[in-house]
């Protein structure tokens, strides 16, 4: 990897994803004197303390004033700097939206917005701190690239890619530790290119962020318990979307489920749906995410389960989609739908 910094799986299990972002930013600061870091009094929470210590002359705390921060960042970018402006995702995408829209995207300046505590990952903090609409909002902004990495290693790669690519970026990462998805950083990360995590031909699960790991586990359960072959695509870049990978999945698996820690309106699921509909091709389709309501408060893992975007929830929804699709086909062909079996009797006998 250019620049030398590579995070191993061991490091990625010891560090929260935001900490990996902080270390990557610090290393970028070592390599490039134009990299600057901005915070709205959340340097500790967004884990950019390393950068502050090593490059105090390039670290700016604007106070609790996100709108101001993104305006300042836009001005710095106009002067040739590469600002990384970090805040909680909910503040970056909603509170400072006008500045992000007008000062950054309209000017098409080289500002990198890092939204931490994405989705429901700051679950206990309550609905005001959940960022469940940021994809929908940011995806609509002209010139913006939108990335939601699956784990710490992918976060490091996304941050580096953003530094090396001109234009506005919004990278959404989680609050705490993410389950490790990648054991190495040389898997070929490319902005705008989905990564096939698991091959399959019955159904495709397209996911981003923490839902990638959950989808991979779901694919294992589907294979082991139901003999269903599920393709899993890590769609880390939501804009620009890898349409080729989506349409290939439609052609080859005929059924698509999307999974995201975000409202089902306007995010990854919507982007995939638009692509499929505009292609003129049909497929069985389901979006998984937070329904059109504010999330409950709780631990991230429990909220993923509540919204059926954990492994078990994804399995349940894939089975329902498969069943509905098979039933429709069976009715067309005059087959007996009662003979379709999508459930396995679960054995709860303890092993002795």
């Amino acid at each position: 990897m250019a620049g030398g910094l590579s995070f191993t799986a061991v490091e990625s299990t010891k560090l929260a994803t935001a900490e990996i972002y902080g270390k990557t930013l610090s290393a970028l600061g070592d390599e490039n004197p134009n990299v600057v870091a901005l915070t709205a009094d959340l340097a500790g929470s967004t884990k950019i303390g390393d950068f502050k210590e090593k490059h105090p002359d390039r670290f700016f705390n604007v106070g609790i004033a996100e709108q101001n921060m993104y305006g300042v960042a836009a001005g710095m970018a106009k002067c040739g700097l590469i600002p990384f402006a970090s805040s909680f995702s909910v503040f970056a995408s909603l509170r400072a939206l006008d500045q992000v829209h007008t000062d950054i995207c309209y000017q098409n300046v080289n500002v990198k917005i890092i939204g931490t505590h994405g989705g429901t990952s700051f679950g206990q903090a309550g609905s005001t701190h959940h960022a469940i609409e940021d994809f929908a909002v940011v995806r609509g902004l002209v010139n913006m690239t939108l990335i939601c990495p699956a784990d710490g290693i992918e976060t490091a790669l996304a941050v580096r890619a953003a530094a090396n690519t001109p234009g506005p970026f919004y990278i959404r990462i989680n609050r705490g530790f993410d389950n490790t998805v990648y054991s190495t950083s040389d898997y070929g990360f490319q902005v705008g290119k989905a990564v096939t995590m698991n091959e399959g031909n019955d159904v495709t699960i397209i996911a981003c962020g923490s839902c990638v790991y959950q989808s991979m586990q779901a694919a294992k359960i589907l294979e082991n318990d139901y003999n269903i072959s599920a393709r899993v695509l890590n769609m880390h870049t939501i804009k620009p979307l890898d349409k080729e990978a989506v349409l290939k999945a439609v052609d080859e698996t005929r059924r698509v489920v999307t999974a995201e820690d975000h409202t089902i309106i306007g995010g990854l699921g919507s982007a995939v749906a638009e692509t499929i509909v505009e292609s003129g091709k049909g497929c069985a389709f389901k979006r998984l995410g937070i329904p059109d309501k504010f999330s409950a408060i709780g631990l991230h893992e429990d909220l993923l389960a509540m919204h059926e975007i954990d492994a078990a929830g994804i399995v349940k929804n894939v089975l329902e989609l498969m069943k509905a699709d098979f039933e429709a086909e069976a009715v067309k062909k005059g087959l007996d739908i009662t003979k379709l079996n999508f459930g396995t009797a679960e054995d709860w006998t303890d092993e002795v």
């Binding site: 779901a218 318990d225 078990a312 303890d350 092993e351 002795v352």
Partner: protein
């Protein structure tokens, strides 16, 4: 009667753990230690442990072992009509006291004259007691691994048994849980692994590597000694995590919850509820 013991719900929970989780470990010892396997070679008989208990089928709780040419089959929670050898306790309290090591209220032994059956069974039971009731880890590496295996098998079975018996704290945990597996492991020793899967009030204890998917949470120890240090309460878990002796693969909050469930099993298996 003046001396009649009132059997409490705690006695029932403890008995449940011993009948369903601890006694089946006899088979593990026989299968893990060739010298014990040799004691049963060529022998076929039925051995049963029972305790009188009102409300249970036949008036007793029991677990029996069908041994055929030295090969053990465990029938947990089931009484055999005519075992060749039986250790029969007069009540659940005495049974719990005996197996928790809190006292020696010996059972009535039916089939005592069948020394060919009695002696190997007694020796295996003593081996199990020596391992599980030890206060320090064994010296030999193979003994350490066997003891870890016994603990790793006992804990998920104990949790699952308490859940199935309706223990309020554990039932609350499983009822509110989505489909999740919690596992225990020692690095490079998959044969020691165990797990418990829970889902909406159901639970299943299993042995070996959990294969459906990656467990929701795994307590990974770097070696058997460090596993025993924690399991035998000889070391601080946080300190061991800091030192890299224990890696909790999963959300820390759920690691704490799993720790509480393990402590609940220990509360009954060690007879902590028994006064005196």
């Amino acid at each position: 009667m003046a001396n009649e013991i009132k059997i409490t719900q705690d006695d029932r929970y403890a008995a449940g753990i011993f009948f369903y989780s601890a006694l089946p470990l006899l088979r593990v010892i026989v299968e893990s230690e060739p010298k014990f396997a040799a004691k049963f070679k060529g022998k076929s008989f039925v051995f049963q442990v029972s305790a009188a208990c009102e409300g249970e089928p036949g008036g007793k709780m029991a677990t029996h072992f069908v041994i055929e040419d030295g090969v053990f089959t465990v029938k947990v929670g089931k009484a055999h009509e005519s075992p060749d050898l039986e250790f029969a306790f007069p009540d659940l309290r005495k049974f719990a006291i005996f197996f928790s090591g809190k006292g020696m209220p010996f059972p009535k032994i039916k089939g005592m004259s069948k020394l060919g059956y009695l002696i190997p069974i007694l020796m295996t039971l003593l081996r199990m007691a020596a391992l599980l009731q030890a206060t320090d880890a064994p010296k030999k590496e193979s003994d350490k691994e066997l003891l870890v295996k016994l603990y790793f098998y006992l804990l998920p079975n104990g949790i699952s048994r308490l859940n199935k018996m309706g223990h309020p704290e554990i039932k609350n945990f499983t009822q509110t849980s989505p489909d999740r597996a919690f596992a225990w492991s020692v690095k490079d020793k998959p044969e020691l692994n165990s797990y418990i899967r829970v889902k909406a009030g159901n639970s299943k204890a299993g042995r070996g590597v959990y294969k459906r998917c990656k467990p929701f949470l795994t307590m990974n120890f770097d070696n058997a000694q460090h596993a025993l240090d924690i399991l035998m309460s000889k070391a601080d878990m946080i300190e061991y995590i800091k030192k890299g002796f224990l890696f909790i693969d999963g959300a820390p909050e759920f690691g704490a919850a799993l720790g509480n469930l393990m402590m609940t099993v220990a509360y009954y298996a060690q007879g902590q509820y028994i006064e005196g």
